[in-house]
């Protein structure tokens, strides 16, 4: 999923302060799962903004709504009847959702309420960790299902660096060395020979090195 974290309240207050009525918009997808921008977080933020502004003597009307998905135009379209009644939109979706709103509602200021972080998985309740950087040329089949691009601080392609100690990365004891994990996993699979295969220098063009990326499925595209 795409993970996110709410921005500091102070920053958000400055965004909304000039307006009288805003639409605070959540998303039912990734940001709901990582507890950053779902219906509940919309309620919490609306309440927090309302109180913080009330303290400083100003009031604001915050209309709350949560879309099934903010990154799809079909769902964004359902906002049309609500848009005229508000001065600005604050989105709790990832950067994709915020940009979709800005594209659809050109006359309305749109503000992000969260910082979009990374593509990750849930390690345990309340903990999410980066697992994929969307490099566009997945090599998990060669590395025992563990990604050295997303999980090695140096994105090394051929084994660990000298900073790997006891299975941990030199950047912190709470960070696993991706190549130590890969070695352990290959051993479990009986595929140790994969470890000595030399991987060529990675082509970063599919990973965004040649500009913004796009997928066109000709059978589906209209």
């Amino acid at each position: 999923m795409i993970t996110a974290e709410r921005k500091p309240l102070e920053e958000l207050i400055e965004y909304v302060r000039p307006f009288k009525r805003i639409l605070l918009l959540g998303c039912n997808e990734c940001v709901t799962v990582c507890a950053a921008g779902g219906r509940k977080e919309v309620g919490l933020l609306a309440s927090g903004l309302h109180m913080a502004l009330l303290k400083s003597g100003s009031t604001i009307e915050i209309r709350e709504h949560t879309l099934e998905r903010q990154c799809d135009p079909e769902y964004v379209e359902e906002l049309v009847p609500m848009i005229d009644g508000v001065d600005a939109i604050m989105s709790m979706a990832c950067g994709c959702g915020v940009q979709e709103l800005a594209r659809r509602f050109k006359g309305k200021p749109v503000f992000p309420a969260v910082n979009t972080k990374f593509m990750g998985a849930s390690e345990r309740q309340g903990v999410w960790a980066e697992r994929c950087q969307g490099c566009g040329d997945c090599l998990l089949g060669k590395t025992g299902g563990i990604c050295p691009i997303a999980r090695c601080a140096k994105q090394l392609m051929n084994g660990p660096c000298g900073g790997s100690t006891g299975g941990h990365c030199e950047i912190g004891d709470d960070v696993d060395c991706a190549w130590a994990l890969i070695w352990e996993r290959l051993k479990e699979l009986g595929q140790e020979e994969r470890f000595v295969e030399i991987m060529p220098a990675k082509d970063w063009r599919p990973g965004g090195g040649s500009g913004p990326r796009k997928i066109i499925r000709e059978d589906l595209a209209e």
Binding site: P8, L9, E10, K40, G43, L44, S47, G48, H50, M51, A52, L54, K55, G57, T59
Partner: protein, 151 residues
Amino acid sequence: MDTFEPVIVAFCCHYCAYTAADMAGSQRLTYPSNVKIIRVPCSSKVDALHIVKAFEMGADGVYVAGCLEGDCHFKNGNTRAARMVDYVQKYMDEIGIERERLEMVMMSAGMGYRFAQVATEITEKIRKLGPSSIHAAICRQHVDTCAVVVE
């Protein structure tokens, strides 16, 4: 401010604090009527949103009362509730409400005396802190109907 009577919301677990409140009543123990009890099936049922909404509506203090550590009817609901209270306290710092206005307390169903004591202590603490800034702001907007004297 001497006449200030705080509004305090107490979310009480059915299996401990709520029964302790009942016990306090049976023992003819008195506690301040400022405390408004909301019964919940477990302290972990209380959401951050419930607490924040209570403050938004003008509560001067809120506390969540769960079972003693290790005694939760649902295994670990009370420790989860305590973590949620910590989280909301940090959010209160951001909003600008004193974190002392929110507390997690633990007790067993037999502790009627402790329930009355906790209710009294928290009421006194909040009374000393005065009206919450949100309560005061609401009163500034509704001077004619609000009981709190706003300076």
